[in-house]
């Protein structure tokens, strides 16, 4: 298409026709085919995004017309909203622990799988399975079975004579059960790590082992540095995912963030403001703040990346 476009443009110049009309003639069918996508993109994505930006400066309950309130929503967020503060704490805690642990776990499994074992496709598929299951009602029930007072975890602990708490309904531990759920779904970063590991030239390892470097030293000095672009990519994707995490907490806590707001993810709070209390304006402001927050985190990652990400020149 691009090549044809250039051809068409040069022809247009050659015959003296307007470039634009030639281009239109040449690409009109293409644009027509793209029209459904354009309608979707502008009608369902760009339009609502702009609308939500407008709504974030209003008081809007769906039933009555939106009323302009200026920056009140944003001011309230930072000055007079305990739940906002609570949800920020929960979300940051979740991001801070779930992302590094999940990446470390995914990398560990990828390294193990990369040793040329038999039946790799099968293992790869099996390890990817939890990610496919996502956060379904079945997972919520499974998690309750595992982490309840009389659940699997405590059955195992009982063997060692330890009486465990009801992990899932205790505010001190409930968030950790969700972090473990997130780590368990390590499939997609693992696949990407695996692809990254395949890119590392084998002769480097051969040279290193000739020089007598241990496996661990090879990992630290060869694998990790050469893998940093993949680590960087995974870290950004997973951080964004973690900030946006919603379904596990929604399903496991019944949409309330219970017990005592210990699983009140930012997105869950946003959802409740919008669809439980019908404060669409305030919820829009929350959504925009989340966008800015994620953008800042991503920008920060990119700025620091030049100090630790090594691109193969």
């Amino acid at each position: 298409m691009a090549v044809r476009g250039m051809e068409a443009a040069s022809q247009g110049v050659a015959t003296g026709n307007s470039i634009w009309s030639r281009a239109w003639q040449n690409h009109a069918p293409g644009y027509l085919f793209l029209l459904p996508w354009f309608i979707g993109f502008f009608g369902l994505t760009v339009g609502p995004i702009i609308t939500s930006f407008y709504l974030s400066f209003t008081d809007f309950d769906l039933l009555t017309p939106a009323e302009w309130v200026g920056v009140d929503n944003y001011v309230r967020m930072f000055t007079n909203d305990r739940s906002f503060a609570a949800s920020m704490r929960v979300t940051f805690f979740f991001v801070l622990f779930s992302v590094p642990l999940k990446l470390a776990f995914a990398l560990g499994v990828a390294v193990l799988l990369n040793r040329g074992m038999k039946g790799l496709p099968l293992y790869r598929a099996l390890f990817y399975l939890p990610s496919l299951l996502g956060a379904s009602v079945a997972i919520a029930i499974l998690w309750r079975q595992i982490f309840a007072a009389d659940g699997l975890v405590n059955d195992v602990l009982a063997i060692f004579g330890i009486q465990g708490p009801s992990w899932i309904s205790n505010p001190n531990y409930s968030l950790w059960t969700l972090i473990i759920l997130s780590i368990w779904q390590f499939g997609s970063p693992m696949i990407i790590f695996l692809a990254g590991l395949r890119q590392i030239p084998q002769d480097m390892y051969e040279a290193a082992s000739l020089d007598g470097a241990s496996k661990w030293r090879q990992f630290v000095k060869i694998t990790l540095p050469l893998l940093t672009p993949v680590v960087f990519f995974n870290a950004i994707i997973q951080t964004i995912e973690a900030f946006k995490s919603f379904t596990p907490a929604f399903i496991i806590s019944g949409g309330t963030g219970a017990p005592i707001n210990s699983t009140l993810f930012y997105t869950l709070y946003l959802y409740n403001e919008a669809f439980s209390f019908f404060r669409m304006g305030y919820a829009s402001a929350l959504a925009w703040f989340l966008l800015v927050l994620i953008a800042c985190f991503t920008a920060f990652s990119f700025l620091t990346s030049k100090y630790w990400v090594h691109y193969d020149d």
């Binding site: 219970a258 669809f275 439980s276």
Partner: protein
């Protein structure tokens, strides 16, 4: 070579576009049938669809129904109302009827009474419950009352007598002591922790002569009331009469994870019409009783609440047809037999008489309970302010857990509840 925009390409492109639009847009012009939306589970949907079949069979226009869970229902309804595509007949709750009525999302039905809506033998208090500012916006589909759900089998197992309607909070403590001593089913407690239950607080404060919310939409209980409330439950929790904090937090709202369903407690606060649903998922024999009295002989905590309404959308093209369907649901004896008491006790005396012999045991219990509340029955309170739902879910329940887990004292929680609830009410009113 250049791409040409010929007729065949145009046809392909435009037909793909037409297909995409057709798939994405609901052809509203193709619908003449009435539309109905309600919340509930499959059992309610089966009964409702049974009535729709009867209605259509009698030569009436078709009705297309849609049902969702309570949590999904309100976002969907509000979105439809905002988009101008609200269904003709809307199931409405006492909590939201004022909000929808004052915004003209639902229509006043007074002009249709007598002509389309036959309400001659309709219970006066239930009719009154559907009025906002003196105009009729909702037709009650049944009366219900709060009720204590009791696992009768567990009481027999523990060798404890099932309480009758004269019971008090002192009786509750004795039952708690009994269950603690009996230690059945891995330490089943007498009752779940009721400190986060808005209906229990409402019932308790009404017995003390105050409403939970005044008709002006202000908070009823004082700091002292709330401190006493949290202290009372603290004492019962510490004594082991009710479920502990960790166990209570396992209940996230669905009947399947209630303390009775999980065998953690022999009683939970519930509603009379919910006996049917709880019984359907529990192998034990369940029954219902009143909420406890604060002292012997003190009544007035209960009231016969319209469990839910049918309302007509303000945007409905044919309000008379919509009202005719509602009338069929509430006055036709055959429809009444299909609906049973699943939405509450029918408000038409004739329908009640017609269905009474056809009811199963649980439905009979619910019907008799609501009909025989006696001195426990008080007046219907005014419909709660808009922010009541938020105070319930994001304040009372959270505080109840904070106190149970030891994060707050009863004194602290009582003060905080009143302060924060008033702030929430102010914000909603402004």
């Amino acid at each position: 070579m250049t791409l040409r925009f010929d007729r065949r390409q145009f046809l392909m492109g435009s037909s793909a576009l037409a297909a995409a639009i057709a798939a994405g847009v609901n052809p509203a012009w193709a619908q003449n049938a009435l539309r109905l939306i309600f919340w509930g589970g499959q059992a309610r949907a089966d009964r409702t669809n049974g009535v729709i079949d009867l209605f259509e069979g009698a030569g009436n226009p078709g009705v297309e129904s849609e049902f969702l869970s309570w949590n999904d229902y309100w976002p969907k309804l509000a979105t439809q109302v905002a988009g101008g595509t609200a269904p003709d007949v809307i199931q409405m709750d006492y909590r939201f009827i004022v909000e929808y009525a004052t915004r003209n999302a639902i229509a006043p039905l007074d002009d249709l009474v007598g002509d389309v809506l036959k309400l001659d033998d309709f219970d006066a208090d239930q009719l009154e419950g559907g009025k906002v500012d003196g105009k009729l916006y909702g037709i009650s589909l049944g009366a219900n009352s709060v009720a204590m759900l009791v696992n009768k089998t567990a009481f027999e197992e523990a060798g404890i007598a099932v309480p009758d309607m004269s019971w008090t909070y002192e009786t509750l403590k004795e039952i708690g002591e009994g269950f603690k001593a009996a230690n059945i089913r891995g330490g089943m407690r007498g009752m779940s922790d009721g400190s986060g239950s808005e209906p229990m607080l409402d019932n308790w404060i009404r017995q003390r002569g105050k409403p939970l919310y005044t008709p002006e939409g202000k908070l009823g209980p004082s700091v002292e009331d709330m401190v006493e409330w949290f202290t009372m439950w603290n004492e019962m929790r510490d004594a082991g009469y009710i479920t502990d904090a960790e166990t209570t937090a396992l209940d996230t709202g669905a009947p399947e994870v209630s303390m009775v369903a999980l065998n953690k407690a022999a009683m939970i606060p519930s509603n009379s019409n919910q006996l049917v649903i709880h019984q359907s998922i529990n192998p034990d024999v369940l029954t219902i009783n009143s909420y406890p009295r604060i002292a012997p002989g003190v009544g007035g905590g209960h009231y016969r609440k319209p469990s839910m309404f049918f309302s007509v959308a303000g945007s409905s093209a044919d309000k008379a047809a919509a009202a005719a369907f509602i009338n069929f649901c509430i006055t036709d004896p055959e429809a009444g037999k299909v609906l049973g008491v699943e939405r509450g006790i029918p408000c038409s005396a004739a329908v009640r008489d017609a269905i009474a012999p056809t009811l199963d045991e649980q439905s009979q219990i619910a019907l008799n309970f609501v009909a025989n509340l006696g001195d426990l029955l008080g007046p219907l309170p005014s419909s709660p302010p808009n922010a009541a739902g938020e105070i319930d879910t994001s304040l009372l329940r959270v505080l109840s857990q904070e106190v149970a887990f030891g994060g707050r004292s009863a004194q602290d929680a009582g003060e905080f509840f009143v302060f924060e609830a008033e702030a929430i009410l102010d914000r909603a009113a402004s």
